[in-house]
């Protein structure tokens, strides 16, 4: 079984088309892709507007943690073939793709949905990336909540 892995921490636009092609193997019949997008309007709780987000990363550790997420996914869903994880950094305007997690497998009942969901959950827990939100009232850092265990 081919097991392509593609990781990117990039200032450039992320293309789901490109990432899907990178993880499509001769055995691939299904790809599930999650993408995060900069929300212009947030209505959870109080409604607020966002003009852009500024992402920064502790790049070498972020790349290590992205690799680790791939290992964790493969341990949990052995039928997953390819995995792509991309995170864009820099200033990203509302409507822009910020991150993509995509998993390929032979069939859709192989855990690809769960694997992609797990991937984005873990990215938001352990990959050292932060974002500052700018809206009509100025800029502020978005607070994370998760505290990884040592070595997690």
């Amino acid at each position: 079984m081919d097991s392509p892995t593609y990781l990117a921490l990039t200032q450039d636009a992320i293309s789901p088309d490109d990432l899907i092609a990178r993880i499509t193997t001769p055995g691939t019949g299904a790809v599930v892709l999650f993408t995060g997008i900069v929300r212009g309007i947030t209505t959870h709780g109080e409604t607020r507007q966002t003009s852009h987000l500024d992402y920064e990363a502790y790049s070498p550790m972020a790349e290590e943690k992205m690799k680790q997420i791939c290992v964790e996914i493969r341990e949990r869903w052995s039928a997953v073939e390819g995995i792509a994880i991309a995170q864009r950094i820099g200033q990203l305007d509302a409507g822009t793709i910020t991150t993509v997690i995509a998993c390929s497998a032979g069939h859709r009942d192989s855990g690809v949905f769960e694997a992609a969901r797990y991937g984005i959950d873990r990215l938001k827990e352990i990959v050292p990336i932060w974002k500052k939100e700018t809206g009509p009232d100025g800029a502020s850092w978005v607070e994370g909540h998760y505290h990884p265990a040592a070595g997690e």
Binding site: E64, W130, A149, G151
Partner: protein, 82 residues
């Protein structure tokens, strides 16, 4: 004694005004002790004391962990990527 380089991100960078700091780190210094040294040097960090995290050589570290020589040390708030 070991002159260590500490990387700072997000709110911690804002509070210290620096992306990285150099500090004298005595042999045997733990993460908890280094955290106290950092807050003492940059009192604005007091308000993120309970939330700040430490990575040693790109791995999440324990408070009681001793900082090895020539380690890559980073302090940062909980992550918010995605």
């Amino acid at each position: 004694m070991n002159r260590g380089r500490i990387l700072l991100f997000a709110t911690l960078r804002d509070y210290t005004g620096s992306r990285s700091l150099e500090m004298e780190i005595p042999a045997g210094t733990t993460v908890a002790v280094l955290t106290e040294m950092l807050i003492k040097a940059h009192p604005r960090l007091e308000k993120v004391r309970t939330s700040m995290m430490t990575a040693i050589n790109r791995e999440y570290a324990r408070d009681e962990q001793v900082i090895p020589e020539n380690a890559e040390i980073a302090f940062f708030p909980p992550v918010s990527g995605g």
